[in-house]
């Protein structure tokens, strides 16, 4: 991300200003174009005169005026926009800007948009990232991201996707998609499915930033649960990879590297949370409570996994927890029933076989996992484990 101080202000204010402009102008594209104009004006003026007291307000006023110039210039036929151009200029906004970001969250994550479009939109519109930055995070071409955004905005406009927060009767149906997009950003950042690095720090940071904004705007229990889960998981980030970039499994991590402030904040949030992420957050909190791996309350974790809706990943993690609570054989028996097309299944089996001292079977399972793994850091970890078994 840019280190230019003006760019940092733009990025911090982007979601709030864009959301306000979409609300005032009723048009996604016009709002973005006008905001780009306002940034260009600000870049010159702020460098000369300094950043104003309320940069968001300044940007909204300037962008709105630019938008009206654009409407007049283009003689837009759109009746709504033509009306807007006829209105006298409103007095400049000087105080804090009315926050429309919550609407933007729900519009970006509208269920009528596909998940990739939702992800690109939320990073662009609320995160203030450029298409190039989004592309780099997901290892796709910039043109691909641009196409997704153009297509999504065309659909928002063409299909009449409203710019609004769903009513309280719909909120429970619509909120999960917003939470899922933020969680997806985080998981892709925390355990990259492809590429040379295991953790994409900026994606984790962005997901947490978005979750914080969402929680500030919508302090509901499912949002608290997601934020808690992200904070508790992310708190272990520094311990998860060693200085040479190698993966460090949970039980070998230097727990003094865990971010205590983040763990404490996560634990406080878990208490008032509910919903699908709350149990996962509670599991992360149990790990956080253990100062040594031996102190981990595995029976409690087994109990918590049983509360999650069954899925192959949940079954896999439950089997590992059972193995840690009662021994590898019990875990292996549970793994026999897991159907999952991922390196994680043979990797888990290999780990439990290794703990059970069944070396030849563990070797075969590590080899199977290596055939399926996509991330370079995970591959090296599996190779190291395999090497330890075959050399001893």
């Amino acid at each position: 991300m840019s280190t230019d101080p003006l760019a940092a202000v733009f990025r911090a204010e982007h979601g709030r200003v864009l959301a306000r402009l979409i609300s005032l102008l009723g048009d996604f594209d016009l709002a973005e174009e006008a905001l780009a104009d306002a940034y260009a004006t600000a870049a010159g003026k702020w460098r000369a005169d300094g950043v104003p007291d309320h940069p968001a307000a300044w940007l909204v006023t300037t962008a709105r005026n630019r938008a009206i110039d654009r409407i007049r210039g283009a003689r837009r036929l759109d009746a709504h926009l033509a009306d807007l151009a006829e209105q006298p200029a409103p007095p400049p906004v000087e105080g804090p800007v009315l926050d429309d970001r919550l609407r933007l969250f729900f519009t970006c994550c509208h269920p009528a948009l596909d998940r990739q479009a939702q992800v690109a939109l939320i990073l662009r519109c609320l995160g203030g990232l450029s298409s190039e930055e989004v592309a780099r995070l997901f290892l796709v071409r910039e043109s691909t991201v641009q196409q997704r955004i153009v297509r999504a905005k065309r659909k928002i406009r063409g299909a009449g996707i409203p710019f609004r927060v769903p009513g309280s009767d719909e909120l429970s149906h619509r909120l999960p998609a917003v939470l899922a997009v933020i969680y997806l950003l985080f998981t892709e950042g925390y355990a990259a499915t492809s590429g040379p690095d295991l953790i994409k720090n900026s994606l984790c940071d962005e997901a947490i930033r978005l979750a914080r904004v969402l929680y500030e705007l919508l302090p509901e229990r499912p949002v608290a649960a997601l934020l808690a889960l992200l904070l508790l998981t992310d708190a272990r980030r520094a311990a998860r990879v060693d200085a040479s970039g190698r993966l460090v499994p949970l039980e070998e991590q230097d727990r003094t590297l865990w971010n205590r402030a983040q763990l404490d904040e996560g634990r406080r949030l878990v208490i008032g949370s509910a919903g699908p992420y709350a149990v996962q957050a509670a599991i992360a909190a149990v790990h956080a409570d253990a100062r040594t791996p031996e102190e981990t309350d595995w029976p409690q974790i087994v109990h918590l996994y049983a509360m999650l809706a069954p899925s192959p990943m949940v079954e896999l993690n439950r089997a590992i927890a059972v193995a840690m609570a009662t021994g590898p054989d019990a875990g292996l028996r549970l793994l026999d029933h897991v159907r999952l097309d991922s390196h994680l299944l043979p990797a888990a089996r290999a780990d439990l076989l290794r703990r059970a001292g069944r070396v030849p079977e563990a070797v075969a399972a590590y080899e199977k996992a290596l055939e399926l793994v996509g991330n370079q850091v995970e591959r090296e970890y599996l190779e190291r484990r395999l090497g330890e078994l075959t050399s001893s």
């Binding site: 009528a112 299909a159 009449g160 996707i161 409203p162 609004r164 769903p166 719909e170």
Partner: protein
């Protein structure tokens, strides 16, 4: 905004009209009362369809629907709604969503 709501159903699984007709009648009544209903009809089977192309001033007729597929257009509604959320809310209540699929498309204007 106007939305065309297209109902796709598996024609190989014949519907029990004695059961579904009252459901569709009730649905149409509620759409009308809400001011959403503008038009709508059930279509006969896609085997009754004729597809036409004109190439080099020559009319080419094909006996059958535009695309051979398991699920075929079986009916439609035309809705007048404030926005997509309202259109989707009403479309989701269409009885056909229980066994087929319903596509919602805005009309160009």
């Amino acid at each position: 905004m106007q939305y065309l709501v297209m109902i796709y159903i598996d024609e190989t699984a014949p519907a029990d009209y004695s059961k579904i007709s009252p459901e569709f009648e009730d649905y149409a009544r509620r759409l009308t009362e809400a001011g959403v209903f503008q038009a709508g009809a059930r279509l006969l089977a896609s085997s009754t369809a004729t597809t036409i192309r004109v190439r080099d001033n020559e009319e080419l007729f094909t006996d059958g629907p535009f695309a051979e597929a398991r699920e075929q257009l079986g009916g439609y509604y035309l809705f007048e709604c404030e926005n997509l959320d309202e259109a989707l809310k009403w479309a989701a209540q269409c009885p056909a969503t229980q066994y087929g699929a319903v596509e919602v498309r805005p009309l160009a204007h």
